[in-house]
Symmetry: C2
Subunit: 123 residues, 2 copies
């Protein structure tokens, strides 16, 4: 045991704000919070959302995605890799092209929920 003589100040405790309100309040764990944040961050980019929006309508190759969205193929490819890593899209190769499609339709629920949320705010 690490005793330090007499009278140790509990340094890690809040010194003031004696409210007992904090009791029983269980904060989200740091690790899980980070995982959730990573997931939300993934959707926190306009171009990524736009990519998901077109893939939700049709399977498309990189060039076409870039074409429809007015993005560079390189930029699209970079973003697709992010979506690939998170298992949100899958792809199949045909000839020289790589066709991407939405893999996790779970995401569309979030997408739609927020899309509606935005519309409500404007009203």
């Amino acid at each position: 045991m690490s005793t330090v003589g007499t009278e140790i100040l509990p340094q890690c405790e809040p010194l003031t704000c004696d409210s007992d309100r904090v009791e029983g309040v269980e904060p989200l764990g740091v690790e899980k919070a980070q995982q959730m944040a990573d997931f939300f961050s993934l959707l926190g980019d306009a171009n990524r959302l736009r990519i998901l929006s077109v893939l939700s309508q049709r399977e498309l190759c990189v060039h076409d995605i870039a074409s429809v969205l007015g993005m560079t193929e390189s930029a699209v490819s970079h973003q697709l890799r992010v979506l690939r890593n998170l298992r949100l899209v899958s792809y199949r190769k045909e000839k020289r092209k790589v066709y991407y499609q939405l893999l996790d339709h779970h995401v569309l629920d979030l997408y739609n929920a927020v899309a509606e949320h935005i519309d409500e705010e404007l009203a």
Copy 2:
């Protein structure tokens, strides 16, 4: 009309990738995409999610939020301003303290959805 002699290359059109797949595919508008992205980005921070997690359980003052989460009061205050601007939290002043509470419980739905999504992935 801006005619340039004979045979003008349609420079702005995709030169290759003749797939008609793009037809009918309506991409999410840039503006709305940005609004949605902003909203998701808001949830794309671990500390902000943790703040929301404790506020979802109880109204708390800044000091207590900082205390429970192990954050600086300054950091908490900065983040609360973000949440305030987005109308996700409201506050009331009592004595010297400012008590914050969750305003938009709509967000909790998204929060829970992703929380479950994370849990599923681990299984």
